[in-house]
């Protein structure tokens, strides 16, 4: 028995597609779904499977489509998947940026220019120096990721740079200011930065302590709460092994709701610590967060 609240899928606003499964070319210390070069929990999706998911979501009036993994650019059909997706909805690719060569950047620019809807590329980093970032994401990652972001920015495809908050609150403004400066100096003009909270999932679980593993979201916590801030009220994740309630819960068996989008419309019980994180921070996975808890973010501006 649990006293966890249940949340209905109000509308499929966001379709998440785990195009490359858990295959990734790097192995970050805090990866929420334990992705890596040898991580076979989930596999690559076929172009047909992704096309079917896009069509099903489009028929339901999907608002945005997100491609994730692992590292999406490891899927050799990714560009075709993006083209299909952009035909019906704005599309975002979550990537570590390392595989964005000039050829890939040219192709993305072409897709973006031809599309009616926005193509967003979100590049993940974890520090504004090679030392900070590579301690978490691996040797050489910073240099390659920034090079990929610069290739995009030079084509006016302004990447959203995401960074997991791994610094003290007191260092927030200095960190973000320095991050923007480093990106600009590297040639990534007009940096767009999105801060993510650290998630108590995957490898991060082994890095943190003091976690209350029995904590869940209760009905009382949802009293007066805007449920639209919870991913499971407006999103589903499609993988090569079925459909999950939330991209963050992909390792939780109870979060697998069906084989297809059509049969994954049931409500979901918020029994995981991650659900508490989503409740606390609000829709952290979208491009524009509805609410991010953190230190006071009202500051005097840096020069542009």
């Amino acid at each position: 028995m649990t006293n966890a609240a249940r949340v209905e899928l109000r509308h499929l606003d966001n379709l998440w597609v785990q195009v490359s499964g858990t295959y990734c070319n790097i192995e970050c210390h805090h990866c929420f779904n334990n992705s890596g070069p040898r991580a076979t929990t989930f596999g690559h999706m076929t172009l047909d499977a992704v096309t079917d998911a896009i069509e099903a979501a489009s028929a339901q009036g999907v608002r945005e489509i997100y491609f994730t993994g692992g590292e999406p650019f490891l899927n050799t059909h990714l560009l075709d998947m993006i083209a299909n997706s952009l035909a019906v909805a704005p599309t975002t690719v979550l990537t570590n940026g390392m595989l964005i060569s000039d050829r890939i950047a040219d192709a993305l620019e072409e897709l973006s220019t031809a599309a009616r809807y926005s193509l967003e590329i979100r590049v993940s980093l974890d520090g504004y120096t090679e030392e900070m970032n590579d301690a978490i994401r691996g040797a050489g990652v910073f240099r390659l990721a920034v090079a990929g972001a610069v290739r995009l920015a030079r084509r006016n495809l302004l990447p959203i740079m995401t960074i997991v908050r791994t610094w003290d609150d007191a260092d927030e403004l200095a960190t973000l200011g320095e991050f923007a400066r480093v990106l600009t100096d590297a040639g990534c003009a007009r940096p767009r930065i999105k801060v993510l909270p650290a998630l108590p999932l995957g490898r991060e679980l082994t890095r943190i302590s003091g976690l209350r593993r029995d904590e869940c979201v209760t009905d009382a916590m949802l009293d007066g709460f805007d449920r639209d801030l919870l991913m499971c009220s407006n999103s589903r994740l499609v993988t090569d092994r079925g459909v999950w309630a939330c991209p963050l819960l992909v390792e939780q068996r109870d979060a697998r709701l069906g084989t297809t989008l059509g049969d994954a419309v049931s409500s979901y019980e918020l029994r995981h610590q991650t659900c508490v994180t989503c409740w606390r921070y609000g829709t952290i996975c979208g491009n524009v967060s509805a609410r991010i808890e953190g230190p006071d973010t009202v500051s005097a501006p840096e020069a542009r």
Binding site: S58, G61, V62, R63, S118, N156, A300, P301
Partner: protein, 258 residues
């Protein structure tokens, strides 16, 4: 029938005055303001008598909702420190300089208006039918999603504002969605002009975006006198957005200078 639809005034009383003069010459059946009377610009109390004397029917925007409710911020949801800094300056200034009576009046405004015109069900609101502060940008609002919003709201024609950049989508089945744009600041296109919308519903639905060339130099002087940030004044003069950039999607952001 013909309607004038204005939105996002952001205290730009000079653009509002010019737009209302233009609207008066066009013999519309009614004029509606889709919300966000204050923000960004100078002397927020000046827009209220202009709207009331012209008989403009006003809806409540997120800014109006925040001012009326004494909320801590404008509810635009920024997380970027720079955007938040300017949003706070703007909100605090507008809150301080909006009279208590006007705040009360803002609190009385409806959040939506339904019209039945020639068999078309028209819905006017600020952000989206389901949320006062939901951004409906042209590049992130697909046809299928609009069809869902219209069906869900029971509407054939939906008119919104909130983003500050106009657009019109004809869904091809007699249904239309219009973002009416904003009078308060230029739409990140490098010109100082602002926009409102004429909606004509007869046998067909016709949408005309009307440019408003107003005395933006005089507004900039008002803003300097009110000690508003140079960044806001730069936007009024140049037409490029300098703040509130975080929420812009790729296409709308890439078109701008900053």
């Amino acid at each position: 029938m013909r309607f004038a639809l204005i939105g996002g005034i952001y205290s730009n009383w000079r653009a509002l005055e010019t737009a209302l003069s233009d609207i008066a010459r066009r013999h519309v059946d009614a004029a509606f303001c889709l919300g966000d009377l204050g923000a960004f610009g100078p002397c927020p109390d000046r827009v209220f008598p202009l709207l009331q004397q012209a008989g403009v029917l006003c809806l409540q925007g997120n800014y109006d909702n925040a001012l009326a409710g004494g909320l801590a911020d404008c509810q635009c949801g920024y997380t970027d420190p720079r955007d938040n800094y300017f949003a706070r300056l703007s909100y605090d200034y507008t809150f301080r300089n909006t009279s208590p009576a006007h705040k009360v009046w803002l609190g009385t405004l409806p959040t939506s208006q339904r019209l039945d015109v020639n068999g078309k069900r028209v819905l006017l609101c600020h952000g989206s039918p389901r949320k006062i502060n939901e951004f409906l940008w042209e590049s992130t609002t697909p046809d299928g999603f609009l069809a869902f919003l219209l069906a869900d709201a029971g509407a054939d024609v939906l008119c919104v504002t909130h983003t500050g950049i106009k657009w019109h989508r004809d869904l091809g089945d007699g249904r239309h969605v219009v973002n009416v744009g904003a009078l308060g600041r230029p739409e990140n296109d490098g010109t100082p002009r602002v926009w409102y919308t004429l909606l004509t519903i007869g046998d067909t639905v016709d949408v005309e975006f009307v440019p408003v060339d107003y005395d933006h130099d005089a507004l900039a002087a008002d803003m300097r006198a009110a000690r508003l940030p140079g960044e806001f004044i730069e936007t009024i003069l140049s037409g490029w957005w300098t703040t509130c950039l975080e929420v812009l999607p790729q296409k709308e952001r890439a078109r701008g200078r900053f």
